[in-house]
Amino acid sequence: MNLIMFLLGRVAKGVVVLMAIAILNFLLIHAAPGDPAQVMAGQGGAADEELLQQLRVQYGLDKPFLTQLGIYAGSYLQFDLGFSYRQQQSVLSLIMDRLPATLLLTGSAFVISLLVGTLMGMLAARRQGHWSDGAITTVSLMFYATPLFWIALMSQIIFSLKLGWLPNVGYETIGANLSGFARMLDIGRHLILPAMTLGLFFTAVYVRMMRASMLQVAGSDFVKTARAKGLSEGVILRHHIARNAILPVVTLAGLQAGQLVGGAVLTETVFAWPGIGRLMFDALTQRDYPILLGVFFISSALVIGFNILTELVYRIVDPRIGAQG
């Protein structure tokens, strides 16, 4: 009951935020120079004023700015994200085609980085000062400090080209016509490199966060209590320190969802992963505003989704939140 109320509240809040973001995006993008009609015409190899005018009328670009904004907001309220002039398709259907891939990529990167990050962070904190702590801290710092795309390309060279273990591009083996479990396996094989690459940076962040958090919690009074009860260090670590230390990490993870989704642009580009990040980048270079706005809208929704998810996790891990409403 409490949980449902919470979810309703969060979703309602999310919708308001989304609407505001949608309008903000529209203002930002239309403040920019670059005439979409021209870009679109330019692709044809030649263009004249007549054609440009045709295009402007057809796509409502000739209307006053406020009218455009009105039309835009009105259609967004009806879940109509507009129509892409270049691709001759509705933006929603273009995005929905790509969304599963992005969800899969960001979702698994999110889960992997949280899991691996907290586990490694725990290990490092437990072995504080030991060589394995040094190793974990150093490696995570390395992943943190190396450009994402460089890691992506290196992993392609190592795992695809040199070792031949994993495919380097795409979402599945194209033309293999697999189905069922075989297809899942195939997608999984394709997922490993991009998800790993995207997740590594965040894993590094969570390792360091978890480690610091663990060390801080280790100084808490209740840990002293646990020790005074005669609990073994392992039990104290698992039941007392880790469970409390994970809370700030979960909060951080929620806050970083925006970065995760943004980071997908790069990963999707290098691994030819057919997600909305690349859709956005292509739309940007073509000034395909309806798509650009649509992707921003959907990815913001995605971030809000991740936020709600982390808040849910938080509520499960921390009983104090639920009680206070």
Partner: protein
């Protein structure tokens, strides 16, 4: 995996072809980048669209690598002696992908209605040159010209004049017709599936009019945005064909040297692109001919060809590519000579104004080239600042004349009247078109020479006029020609006859086969 593929192929062949003996299905994976916005070739003629759609649509003619017209949808043709009447006889038994018959009405609709309205390159031809297009009978089309226009015979390939199904488009709004997403052509391949962001899947047209063609069953055009990843994908065998421009030039040698990999620079005879720096002649130091001549001496074009392009291509002498007709080498030649450049620049009275050089956003190699050119110019004391932009920004700035110098490359399209004159004649100074006369070059003599040459039937006279144009242009330098580009296509050697025409991979899969 192998088994299911095999079974699928067998089923497909048995059902469609009536073959009883199962035959291994042949599949080819080709890189396409960027992903085309649309495959409806009548509406979009950007490079990726052309690369794929040339296998779905067809024009009346094809061209061999010597740019001689070959039969395509037109089986044969006659041209009247006065050069004003063209009669095309169509192939028999040609069907659209939806089963409807292809007739002379479709040709008339395409040339006179559809392309006239939407095709920016075809429109000037219909508007200025063609008096009428009519169907004599279901298999015969007659085109009557207002005046002789020799280049017509090079303007009928699939990208310049694709055949559009009348029964689908007549009376509709062409740009929003839902059929644009499910292109219907007469070509050897049909669109099976388009997984946006991932691949475009073409399957062979079993009703194709040319018996025994095509021979490859399926083509997957895969979208891989990063050049390094594309190279790795070819190397790991995911990809079979890398069309020109897919990989870094330095990778060309390495990839071609792989076992079972072949490379050709053929298939670009129709395009024969020349890369240049377009110069905004309207004001400032760049409006001075002497200054431009100084720049031409300052730019180390051989470095560009040898180092930046890793030896691909040739340094051009002037506006007409050495590989196309009407080329004349007897023009003003500009060697790399920094001292002379400094001298000319000093002479022009240049006072160190900043000159903005707009990069072409087509990948690393253009970036390197821009950097090299900038360094050349800085070395002779010209204050150059690079401006970078994405495709949209480049298009916008170039077509709005918002640049001092801008990189560009243009196709020659078989005839100077179509591919060359557009960049230099004053009638083509119009905002909104990055491929027009963006620099604002205006010389009545040049205008007159180009007009006369295009309306002239006699080849020798045309040559004389084009030679004169080349002399004038190489003296006045409305643009700085940098390179006659050579475009390497890398593919697996077991794919045969892939590049046999003047547009290469763009319509090459009709005749290609796999061992």
């Amino acid at each position: 995996m192998k088994l299911s593929r095999y079974a699928f192929a067998a089923a497909l062949c048995a059902a469609a072809m009536g073959f009883t003996a199962a035959k291994a299905e042949s599949v080819v994976h080709v890189v396409i980048e960027p992903e085309p916005p649309l495959l409806m070739q009548g509406l979009a003629q950007n490079a990726p669209t052309n690369t794929i759609a040339g296998n779905i649509y067809e024009g009346l003619l094809r061209y061999n690598q010597k740019l001689e017209p070959q039969p395509s949808l037109a089986k044969s043709w006659e041209i009247s002696d006065d050069g004003l009447t063209y009669v095309f006889h169509l192939q028999e038994g040609v069907k659209w992908h939806d089963g409807q018959p292809f007739t002379a009405d479709d040709v008339v609709f395409s040339l006179d209605v559809f392309l006239r309205e939407v095709h920016p390159r075809w429109r000037p031809i219909t508007d200025n040159q063609i008096a009428s297009v009519e169907a004599v009978d279901p298999l015969t089309v007659r085109i009557v010209l207002k005046q002789p226009f020799g280049p017509l015979m090079t303007a009928l390939e699939v990208a310049s004049a694709p055949m559009i199904p009348k029964h689908i488009y007549e009376g509709t709004d062409f740009r929003t017709n839902p059929a644009n997403n499910t292109p219907i052509g007469t070509g050897p391949y049909k669109l099976q599936e388009w997984k946006k962001g991932s691949y475009i899947h073409l399957v062979r047209n079993t009703d194709y009019w040319l018996a025994g063609h095509p021979k490859i069953d399926e083509i997957y055009w895969q979208v891989i945005p990063d050049a390094a990843a594309r190279a790795v994908a070819f190397e790991t065998g995911t990809i079979d064909v890398l069309p020109a421009g897919s990989v870094d030039v330095y990778d060309v040698a390495r990839l071609s040297a792989l076992e079972g990999a072949c490379m050709t620079t053929g298939g670009w005879e129709m395009a024969s692109p020349i890369a240049w720096i377009a110069v905004n002649l309207r004001e400032g130091p760049l409006s001075d001919k002497t200054f431009r001549q100084g720049l031409m001496h300052a730019i180390d074009r051989n470095f560009g060809q040898e180092v930046v392009w890793n030896g691909l291509g040739r340094v051009p002498t002037g506006p007409i590519a050495s590989t196309t007709r009407f080329y004349d080498p007897a023009v003003n030649i500009y060697d790399f000579d920094p001292d002379k450049a400094r001298e000319l620049i000093a002479q022009s009275g240049y006072k160190g104004e900043t000159i903005r050089l707009l990069k072409l956003p087509y990948g690393e190699i253009w970036d390197r080239w821009a950097e090299a050119v900038r360094q050349n110019l800085l070395d002779v004391g010209v204050n150059v600042e690079l401006v970078s932009s994405d495709t949209a920004g480049w298009t916008q700035k170039t077509s709005d004349w918002d640049f001092d110098m801008t990189f560009n490359f243009l196709y020659q399209l078989g005839d100077p009247a179509i591919g060359v004159s557009r960049s230099y004649v004053s009638s083509n100074i119009a905002k909104g078109n990055p491929f027009g006369n963006v620099g604002g070059y205006s010389n009545p003599a040049v205008d007159a020479l180009f007009a006369a040459a295009s309306a002239e039937a006699d080849e020798a006279v045309r040559q004389a006029k084009y030679s004169e144009v080349q002399k004038i242009l190489t003296d006045e330098l409305p643009v700085l020609w940098l390179l006659e580009m050579e475009q390497p296509t890398i593919y697996r050697c077991d794919i045969k006859d892939l590049v046999t025409t003047a547009i290469g991979v763009n319509d090459g899969f009709r005749d290609a086969w796999r061992e």
